[in-house]
């Protein structure tokens, strides 16, 4: 595994102000944070020009720790706030950090509409299959049959395939991997940041303290091993018979298309309206 430059990550943190962090030992959220920072560092993005927007949840606590322009907004509304920022200052890199509940339950409407507009946001969705912050209620991403504090008899809801949801809504760049595959995650986030349009990276995360415990998934290392053993790259899955793919987490980039981006479309409209220079 590539060496993780710890010092580099430290440079990007508000280490003098906001630590210790709120996340439990064994939580995947820190791994995703590391991947986000390394991707940003690789691209040499100007941090004055980055706005990180989140909703509410364990995952959405991320922005407070990093030294960018940061906006910890309302539950479900990160993408709506981010839309305002991006539309007003299209030159800024707007990154949305959100949870499965935040983005697909209470914030589902904003999620699909930003994808439909193909607004240039980079959405990193930390899917831990549960509402972590409020103590373990089921989310639209809790697998059928699983336990949550509000599904004591097992979850009767079918769950979203969040990547399919984004593709269906019109997202032009959609990828998924797990927190175990930290380097792949970093690469996916980097590509998403480079993509001009709405991009989603779904990071499958472990919440060992709540989801793991409720569903007897073992401790944090066991949940990480499970991500390794129960996921397959899309390419590999294509060559396998369906029964060997069923129930596995598909990893990789599902769609990557360059389409008209929303702030560009708005700019074009304005250009047509304003009289040419010298007129």
């Amino acid at each position: 595994m590539a060496k993780i430059p710890q010092r580099k990550i430290h440079d990007y943190l508000r280490h003098d102000k906001k630590f210790p962090h709120v996340w439990c030992a064994g939580c995947s959220n820190g791994i995703v944070l590391g991947a986000v920072i390394r991707a940003i560092d690789e691209l040499k993005l100007n941090r004055d020009n980055i706005v990180m927007v989140s909703g509410i949840g364990c995952s959405s606590r991320m922005p407070v720790y990093v030294d960018f322009n940061t906006l910890h907004s309302l539950h479900g509304r990160a993408i709506a706030f981010a839309t305002g920022v991006k539309m007003y200052k299209p030159g800024m890199k707007v990154i949305v950090i959100t949870g499965d509940g935040d983005a697909t339950a209470i914030g589902g409407n904003h999620f699909i509409h930003a994808a439909r507009r193909n607004l240039d946001l980079t959405v990193v969705l930390l899917n831990n299959n549960i509402y972590g912050m409020t103590g373990g209620q089921y989310s639209p991403a809790t697998p059928h049959g699983d336990k949550a504090t509000t599904t004591p008899y097992g979850n009767i809801d079918p769950n979203f395939d969040i990547c399919k949801l984004a593709i269906g809504a019109g997202a032009s760049h959609v990828a998924r991997t797990t927190a175990f595959h930290a380097i792949e995650l970093q690469k996916q986030i980097k590509e998403a940041l480079e993509h001009p349009g709405f991009s989603l990276v779904e990071a499958i995360c472990a919440c060992p303290v709540i989801y793991g415990r409720l569903n007897k998934k073992g401790d944090a290392p066991a949940m990480m091993r499970n991500m390794r053993d129960n996921s397959i790259p899309i390419k590999a899955a294509e060559k396998l018979p369906p029964e060997q793919v069923a129930g596995k987490i598909l990893r990789g980039t599902f769609i990557k298309e360059v389409r008209a981006e929303y702030t560009d479309a708005y700019q074009k409209m304005m250009d047509q309206l304003s009289p040419k220079e010298g007129e």
């Binding site: 941090r47 322009n69 907004s73 305002g84 299209p90 409407n109 509409h113 304005m270």
Partner: protein, 401 residues
């Protein structure tokens, strides 16, 4: 950045849009006056969701904003609209949304966010009658208390309420100015009949319009605090992208904007929110009075009912009755001092409003002494207005005790 616009050029364009109407009177709708007022105040961002009777504000701005380098976006709902204007404002925009009751209800959580994060934003609520969908094209004044208490957690409110098309223009500008100066969400309440009423107005020359912009920080980034109040409890505000890299959260926060659970820091934050209103009450409260110095009976009314009351007072005075009018242009913070004085000075106060008695409660709160004037409600809540003649009848009823 393509969207970084040259301010001077933009002002010229705004002037061109508003100016055509400057010298002579033009016929204009209340909602149109709001849109024009917003542009005159420097509004360069609108996010909204269509709803009667406010939609014209969005329609007009969708036409005008792209011409001057501003942004218009129709969001997926009112929650998103309110959140988007907060995001835009944090990036530096003078941002507006417009709605009516059902949308205003949806916006409440985010309005609280704008207040706790002290983010300048303007919300226009063209009220309709009734709870829920109610009567979309009929007047009602049911949102007076909602505009004060609608968002959870007990934060103060700044709410303005015009009575004419011309005043809708003026108070929209003032709403932006107060939002910028006080770093808060300012609500402009309108009546359905005002939103859709057309009347002749002469708009002022744009060069005479006083536009206030937010105070910008002068310190280097490492010294910047997102909440750094002065003696008047007002603080400078940086925008995203200016090198300050600050944090904004709806959690209770310290002066830097970082979350805190410490009671003393939470108390300081709440104190600032309240004190910036209380200490600047004279700047915030605007009232109009007519004949109050010699009134035996007063009428207290806001918005379109203030307008009807003015007419009723005129009729009463033509009959030789000593009647005066007190009309708040700012309903929140409530004009406590003026009302207290009125209660002392007159024998009786008539309070006509298109609800079950919301301003009336505030007057009741301020009755302190036995000899204060008696209070008389006059309510209607059926989608029609109370006419000047009806107000006159009530005045006469209470005039002789």
């Amino acid at each position: 950045m393509t969207k970084e616009k040259a301010t001077s050029k933009k002002t010229e364009k705004v002037e061109a849009i508003v100016e055509k109407k400057v010298t002579k009177a033009v016929i204009m709708q209340g909602n149109e006056a709001v849109a024009k007022g917003a542009l005159a105040a420097g509004c360069d961002f609108f996010a909204g969701y269509p709803i009667t009777p406010s939609t014209e504000v969005a329609e007009i701005l969708s036409n005008e904003l792209p011409k001057i380098g501003g942004t218009f976006i129709q969001m997926e709902d009112e929650i998103a609209s309110m959140c988007a204007i907060i995001g835009a404002s944090l990036a530096g925009a003078k941002a507006l949304t417009a709605t009516s009751g059902p949308g205003f209800s949806l916006m409440q959580e985010a309005i609280g966010f704008a207040k706790i994060t002290e983010t300048p934003t303007v919300v226009v609520n063209v009220q309709r009658m009734g709870p829920s969908t109610g009567m979309p094209t009929s007047p009602g004044q049911g949102d007076i208390m909602q505009s004060r208490w609608g968002s959870h957690g007990d934060a103060p409110a700044i709410v303005l309420y015009p009575d004419s098309v011309k005043e809708a223009f003026q108070l929209t500008i003032r709403a932006f100015n107060l939002a910028e100066k006080y770093r808060s969400c300012v609500v402009l309440l309108m009546d359905e009949v005002l939103g859709h009423m057309r009347e002749a107005v002469t708009l002022p020359d744009l060069s005479t319009v006083r536009v206030i912009n937010r105070i910008k920080p002068t310190v280097p980034p490492q010294w910047y605090k997102h909440y750094d109040e002065n003696q008047k409890y007002l603080s400078p505000i940086a925008s995203f992208g200016e090198g300050y890299r600050f944090h904004v959260t709806g959690l209770t926060h310290d002066d830097h904007g970082f979350p805190t659970n410490k009671p003393n820091e939470a108390a300081k934050m709440m104190e600032r929110l309240n004190k910036k209103i209380k200490h600047n009450i004279r700047d915030l409260v605007q009232i109009e009075t007519e004949h109050m110095h010699e009134a035996k009976v007063a009428v207290f009314a806001a918005g379109i009912m203030g307008r009807a009351s003015k007419e009723a007072v005129k009729m009463a005075r033509a009959e030789g009755l000593k009647v005066g009018l007190l009309r708040p242009l700012t309903i929140w913070p409530f004009p406590d001092d003026a009302v207290t004085k009125m209660l002392k000075d007159v024998d009786a106060v008539v309070v006509p409003e298109l609800n079950e008695g919301q301003l009336f409660h505030e007057l009741e709160r301020l009755v302190r002494e036995r000899k204060d004037g008696s209070l008389h409600r006059l309510n209607r809540n059926d989608g029609t207005v109370i006419t000047p003649a009806e107000i006159l009848t009530k005045i006469k009823e209470v005039y002789n005790g």
